[in-house]
């Protein structure tokens, strides 16, 4: 490795990126906008009352009972049986109520938690209206909106993982293939630049470019939403660096053979799609069916988001975080090794 050569290549790669304003937007602007929108959408605000349709041929007592005894946890509308059914299907209401106050009939979608909740709320209102002892009188309800338990606290780690995956796939994978299809790789291959020097300089510059966006997302989460970091900052930064390198390795691997932007796009989708769906970016992947769990666990994205959340939210012990880090490192090293073997200069 000669510093002179590394410097020349690194400088070129950095400038090439910084002169592409749209790339800068997609790496910085996009995740921040996403954090903002999703943070608010699933964050602050009071719980919405359950929406319930009452079939219009039901006795007036049924509607009155719901209206008066639901403590504003339910908003009821009357509609025809057919309208009510339609509204349920479209998700405009969570529950359809008909029948007598003493023997109510509920139409609901058992897969929707909102439906079950609405049923409980309506049942409770009807019990109270019938003079029953308040079934929940002895219970205390404490709403949870503390930092650490909100969606945004969960989301930030996922957004960082998604960003690093994008940096590896596009920043490295796509760019390398473009250099190959422009025959720029061959042009460089006939200079005395050693191949390892080029790859090192390229990865170094892309890593430099990939690190600031996760830090920006993290800072945004902390300052805009008060997202906590309960664990060690050093471990957190170390894990981000490790994630950057692992996804860089995967990016180099998808780019090792492809000759055209079309073919590399296919490979990128093949890697990206499952990670978006199963990698625990937007929602927890713990409860996916057993059948896909081996795949879920093998994914570097799962290791990364688990590790990040373990550190940020303090939900994992150091042993589990170390396991995630090792899993990530193994995938990264295997990718690099395979990419170097397969890499095509021509």
């Amino acid at each position: 490795m000669r510093p002179r050569v590394l410097r020349a290549v690194t400088r070129t790669v950095l400038l090439e990126h910084l002169r592409t304003p749209e790339a800068v937007f997609w790496t910085y602007g996009f995740p921040l906008v996403m954090a903002l929108v999703l943070g608010f959408a699933f964050g602050e605000g009071k719980a919405e009352p359950s929406r319930v349709a009452v079939v219009d041929d039901a006795p007036a007592a049924l509607i009155a009972a719901i209206d008066e005894h639901s403590e504003d946890r339910v908003t009821a509308q009357t509609m025809t049986a057919m309208e009510a059914r339609r509204a349920l299907t479209l998700g405009l209401v969570d529950l359809v109520v008909s029948g007598e106050p003493a023997r109510p009939v509920f139409d609901l979608d058992p897969m929707r938690t909102g439906s079950e909740l609405a049923r409980l709320q309506v049942e409770r209102a009807l019990l109270r209206a019938g003079g029953a002892v308040d079934p929940g009188a002895g219970s205390l309800i404490r709403p949870v909106d503390e930092p650490g338990d909100r969606y945004i606290d969960f989301l930030i780690a996922g957004l960082i993982g998604m960003n690093l995956l994008g940096a590896g796939m596009y920043g490295i994978g796509y760019n390398v293939v473009m250099m190959r299809s422009n025959k720029l790789l061959r042009r460089l291959a006939v200079t005395p630049m050693r191949r390892g020097e080029f790859l090192a300089a390229f990865l170094m510059s892309r890593t430099l470019l990939a690190l600031p966006p996760p830090l920006a997302i993290l800072a945004f989460g902390i300052f805009a939403f008060g997202v906590p970091v309960h664990g060690s900052w050093l471990a957190l930064l170390g894990l981000i660096l490790l994630g950057t390198l692992t996804f860089a390795g995967l990016g180099l691997l998808v780019a090792s053979r492809a000759r055209t932007s079309e073919s590399v796009s296919g490979w990128i989708n093949l890697v990206t799609m499952p990670m978006w769906l199963l990698g625990g970016i937007f929602f927890s992947n713990e409860r996916f069916p057993d059948l896909v769990q081996p795949l879920v666990r093998a994914m570097p994205m799962t290791q990364f988001t688990d590790g990040m959340r373990g550190i940020m939210l303090g939900s994992f012990d150091p042993g589990q975080i170390a396991t995630s880090a090792v899993g990530l490192a193994v995938v990264g090293l295997l990718s690099f090794a395979a990419a170097l073997r397969l890499f095509r200069w021509n």
Binding site: V5, L15, E16, R19, N182, R186, R187, T191, P192
Partner: protein, 326 residues
């Protein structure tokens, strides 16, 4: 002080029995280079001339170390790609066909990139001056014209003061003025730095104007080798007469020109006739009389000096331009 000026001993390139066969599964193997022998001396501008698909680029890329030979000896500056790859790369300069450099870098930055890859190297200013791109020094690659990109490609190839410069179709697609200005750069490199140049081209005029020696390549084989003047003289005819008339080839094959002295060779195809002659003023009256007798209505008649194009036609029976492989 240029390294090229001290040079070394022995030829710049020596190829012996070079063969390159491309094998793709499920398809018959393609022989791109079929037993080529070639020695390029130091300090000469050597041209590989031939139609597209003749094997020129394959030959050059084997010399550049980008492709492996299937068989044969390849020596570059007395060294072997097997053992001395890095040394060879440090001493050659290369401009490949249809390469696109980094789009968002300026001319000066791209020169700096390539200068950074060689030790010792030319300065950025020197490189830009060599190819006269001073006015474009701060223009990004994406905004350069085809001719400017080609000149820049040659500048990057000169970054390491190479002893041997490979240029693969350096002037394809350029206007005549850009072409001539690139020729000047190439000549200056040879004359002032004492460098050796190997270039490929399918422009006969380029080979004739620029090259000290050319090898005419067709179907991966050498079909002629020598200076442009020697090759033309080898035809024994200094001039060419070309005529066009409806159905001319059939009439000529029917014997219209029999008995006219001084026609060395003829090729007829459709409406066109191509004659090699020693002296047009001696031959033309006879030809015109013969046509008149046969009632041939000429649409065009031209005479010119024999060119390398005629050498190619003589050797292959085909025009250079339509000689491309499928």
């Amino acid at each position: 002080m240029s390294r090229a000026a001290h040079g070394g001993r022995g030829p710049a390139i020596r190829l012996a029995g070079l063969r390159k066969v491309y094998t793709t599964r499920g398809r018959p193997p393609v022989v791109a280079v079929d037993g080529l022998d070639l020695t390029v001396e130091r300090g000469e501008i050597f041209g590989l001339l031939g139609p597209n698909g003749a094997g020129k680029t394959t030959t050059v890329e084997i010399c550049e170390g980008l492709l492996d030979a299937t068989e044969g000896v390849v020596e570059v500056l007395g060294m072997d790609w097997g053992g001395d790859a890095e040394q060879i790369r440090a001493r050659i300069g290369v401009s490949l066909q249809d390469t696109r450099l980094f789009e968002k870098q300026t001319v000066a930055e791209l020169c700096a990139l390539f200068a950074g890859l060689y030790e010792p190297s030319r300065s950025v200013e020197e490189l830009i001056a060599l190819v006269q791109l001073e006015e474009k020094a701060d223009t990004r690659y994406a905004h350069l014209s085809g001719g400017q990109r080609q000149r820049l490609a040659v500048a990057t190839a000169l970054a390491g003061r190479p002893e041997l410069l490979f240029l693969d179709e350096p002037t394809t697609g350029l206007d005549p003025q850009s072409r001539r200005s690139l020729w000047d750069v190439i000549r200056a490199y040879r004359d002032e730095d004492g460098g050796t140049v190997v270039l490929t081209t399918h422009y006969m005029e380029e080979a004739a104007q620029l090259c000290d020696r050319v090898m005419v390549v067709d179907h991966g084989r050498s079909i002629a080798l020598g200076s442009p003047a020697e090759l033309i003289a080898g035809l024994g005819a200094a001039h060419v007469v070309e005529a066009r008339a409806p159905g001319l080839a059939a009439r000529v094959d029917g014997g219209v020109l029999e008995g006219i002295e001084g026609i060395l060779e003829r090729h007829a195809n459709g409406d066109r006739l191509h004659l090699s002659v020693t002296a047009p003023h001696v031959v033309l009256p006879g030809i015109l009389r013969a046509f008149e007798r046969a009632g041939v209505e000429l649409e065009a008649l031209t005479t010119r000096h024999t060119s390398l194009e005629d050498v190619f036609v003589h050797l292959t029976g085909r025009q250079l331009r339509d000689g491309g492989e499928s």
